[in-house]
Amino acid sequence: MEKIYLDNAATTYLAEEVKKEIASKFEVFGNPSSRHSFGKEARIEVENARDKLANFIGAKSDEIIFTSGATESNNFAIKGVALANPNKKQIIVSAIEHPSIIETCNAMKKQGYKIDIISVDNEGIVKVEELKKKIGKDTLLVSIMHANNEIGTIQPIEEIAKICRAKKVLFHVDAVQSFAKLPINVVSIGVDLLSISGHKINAMKGIGALYVRKGVKISPLINGGGQEDAMRGGTENVLGIVSIAKALDLKRNEFEVRNSRDRMIKEILKISGAQLDGSQSQRIYNNACFSFYGIEGESLQMLLDEEGILISTGSACSSNKLAGSHVLKAIGVNKFYLNGSIRISLDCLKVLTREEENYVVQKIKENVEKLSKISPFKFVEKEK
């Protein structure tokens, strides 16, 4: 049996169409900054891709800056805006942002910035009233992710954008998990900066972008030869840029993926000691995150890997820092569930067969039961 890869929120495979597109441009090796014909040829690829990407999110072409990926984009959004607006010293983020935002904020804190972390409710939705109250004269930027990478919760970014606009503070959205999956129009949302990644949408690793609304003051983090309107030095990753543009054409099967995900949620919740983490309704359609009572997620991940099922876990043991998931803690997951979480993130291009769905559910059930037998903590069904 072929392996079943359910970790598409971590990264995705290169789509066939994207592979073909890149392969067709292998000979385009010129430096887009060169004035000769090879350079021009490469420049055309970069600018066509920029136009396409801009159009895709309702932006203008000169509002797109290509980066090495979303981590750079997130760093760029915060540090770049801070460098260009040195008079403002407060940054507001949510408690469940990606590490590339949280760690950037920690670094800014050391530089004297005040970081305000807005809490979320038990579904992972940002407390908008709390956010509103925190915005003040010193606020540089509000940064809230669109869809969460662990629990998939979708934030009310339109509402937050309105508040930021009314209070005249900049609003950055980390759209890595939602980009190309949910409709995003930067103008209708009213966002000032938006981070995008290539490898989450079946394009290449090492390519991303930052949308910066015209008029937003931002300084480059990487100085160099004037590339990207002098906003990001370094020779452009031409093939990466080609790949991200091509990935916009791919058809994502929202309806079928959502149904498949919902069927699996229903079945997995029948397992003794299982709970769904995050929101029932405000959740990106390819994500499901579960916790199981009294077991540890890395063990479950390893057992499932042996069965050919590849998922990820929020367990403390699995992280490099040995700290449990800050997201699950922020939504108040009970300590007996906290380290027993797994995330399933489905492929949006190719839908699982019913047979595969059933196999995944069955194997999760078997292996949760196996680990429950080893554990000193036994789940007791509450009397209803």
């Binding site: 540890e296 043991c317 554990s375």
Partner: protein, 127 residues
């Protein structure tokens, strides 16, 4: 290759997949427990002692593969030993018997020998 968390030894994987002496002991003479579910690792060791020797030993563990494998290994190392011999087994011995653990797991998940010591201490206290 630099050792990482996803490179467990064959021995660890074997003990993880087929843990020895796993389960609860109803009539244990002593129990030792350590860890906290918030951290991800909790180990519990049950002892049956006769003539100052560990006649039977069982474990229950919530934890990663390293935690489960070290628990399983300590039961093998301790079984049949006198209490004094069993006490001398260190976490390092356990890790070595498993042909090593990834560096990041050496501290957090390698506490089986400590749990055994607690169980022995509890045995003596209750005797």
């Amino acid at each position: 290759m630099k050792p990482t968390t996803n490179t467990y030894s064959k021995e660890v994987l074997e003990h993880f997949s087929n843990p020895r002496n796993m389960g609860e002991m109803n009539n244990a003479d002593a129990v030792g427990e350590m860890g906290n579910p918030s951290c991800g690792d909790v180990m519990k060791i049950y002892l049956k002692v006769k003539d100052n020797k560990i006649k039977d030993i069982k474990f229950q563990t919530m934890g990663c593969a390293a935690a489960i494998a070290t628990s399983s290994m300590i039961t093998e190392l301790a079984k049949g030993k006198t209490l004094e011999e069993a006490e001398k087994v260190t976490n390092k011995d356990v890790a070595e018997s498993l042909k090593g653990l990834p560096p990041i797991k050496m501290h957090c998940s390698n506490l089986a020998a400590d749990v055994l010591k607690i169980a022995i201490k509890n045995y003596r206290k209750n005797k």
